[in-house]
Homo-oligomer: 252 residues x 2
Amino acid sequence: MRQRARARLYVDDDLGDGLTVGLAAAQAHYLRHVMRLAPGDVVALFNGRDGEWHARVDGFGRGWCSLVIERQTREQGAEPDIWLLFAPIKRARLDFLVQKAVELGASRLQPVMTRHTDVKRVNVERLRANAAEAAEQCERTTLPAVDEAQPLTAVMADWPSERRLLLCAEAGSAQPIHDILTAEAVSGSAAVWAILTGPEGGFDPSELDALGKLPFVTPVSLGPRILRAETAALSALVCWQSVLGDWHSDRV
Amino acid sequence: MRQRARARLYVDDDLGDGLTVGLAAAQAHYLRHVMRLAPGDVVALFNGRDGEWHARVDGFGRGWCSLVIERQTREQGAEPDIWLLFAPIKRARLDFLVQKAVELGASRLQPVMTRHTDVKRVNVERLRANAAEAAEQCERTTLPAVDEAQPLTAVMADWPSERRLLLCAEAGSAQPIHDILTAEAVSGSAAVWAILTGPEGGFDPSELDALGKLPFVTPVSLGPRILRAETAALSALVCWQSVLGDWHSDRV
């Protein structure tokens, strides 16, 4: 009987029948000392290109682990094309935002610096490590792209005009997000989408004015309660996935 | 010119013109030493019954603060009638689940013990404190009811049969949650709803069998990725609010 994978890891290496994969210290430590795996145990591997493969632990050494790939368990998949642009927030909630955005299938994460963003520096390597861990856990075969933080103005200046942007603006006269998304689904438009959420302090009125003038921006409302920045981002992703993304029966 | 409230607090006291409210140590400390308020500063108060009122700090003492209520700033509101039943999870993510569920407008939180729930004890007072803090922050005028943990079997045995239950089951043949909710919206049914999510280990097959036989239970799917327990709960709440709750234009 085939063994179940005891762990699931993202690796850079090419994956294919009979290939050997060597893990560096952190992942080797995780398998040996956290998961307590032994030679012969099975691990699932993915690299974002070759699907998911089962590999057997061949040996452990000081700061390394070697695995021999046995068989492909899943074809390479793809997440829906949905970007999340977000003003960085304080560390614990930012980690959380990234993890949940990966579970919810975001294909790209772009931190944007806004007027009221009080986080000065974004550790993108930390965000990428968080994203990889979340992808391992939620069984994606992909990692999202995680971009370096950029000023919102710069991102808007270079914006691909065919991509529509859902602006999660507190209050205001925005239409409910569900109305916007269902109208889009009915229209059968093939538009691609992104979501933009602000910092704890919200967007500056001047930012909202400028965004409102951009032809690809659609402001949406997320109900009457005041949502924290990370809650707004995840809520918009959930709505998008449920109506236009791969949660929807017509699209699964 | 009227001052803006520097803080927003849930209190038990009755609220009305000219009444005096005395805060106990924790809230007094928060206003004085965390928010650095001084006598004369304005605080928003709500108690879940009398709407929201602005009150002025009258004085601080050792472990207390007195406020004089000046005027009502909001009528008493109500959240949509949506219950969240959830198997308790580890502390940090449970705190997070409760906070987000309050932001997302849950009217009742019911921890349920399932077969694979590995959390043995739930500190309901801690959940209630978290819920109150989240209600202060998201500007609800209500607190959700937070019940003592009960076995899932007991909750199902006493279930009010007119309330429908969305069962967030991983995988399986469940219909997408959005299809179920939009069909309900179209039907114009006046049903009331609850959401049930399982523990990290998922429901036991015997639990899913038993739940599937209950006439008020509708299993729903939340897409192809494996969602953590708290992500599933929040996603289901978001979908419900956006289609049947107060995020929806026809219902706001």
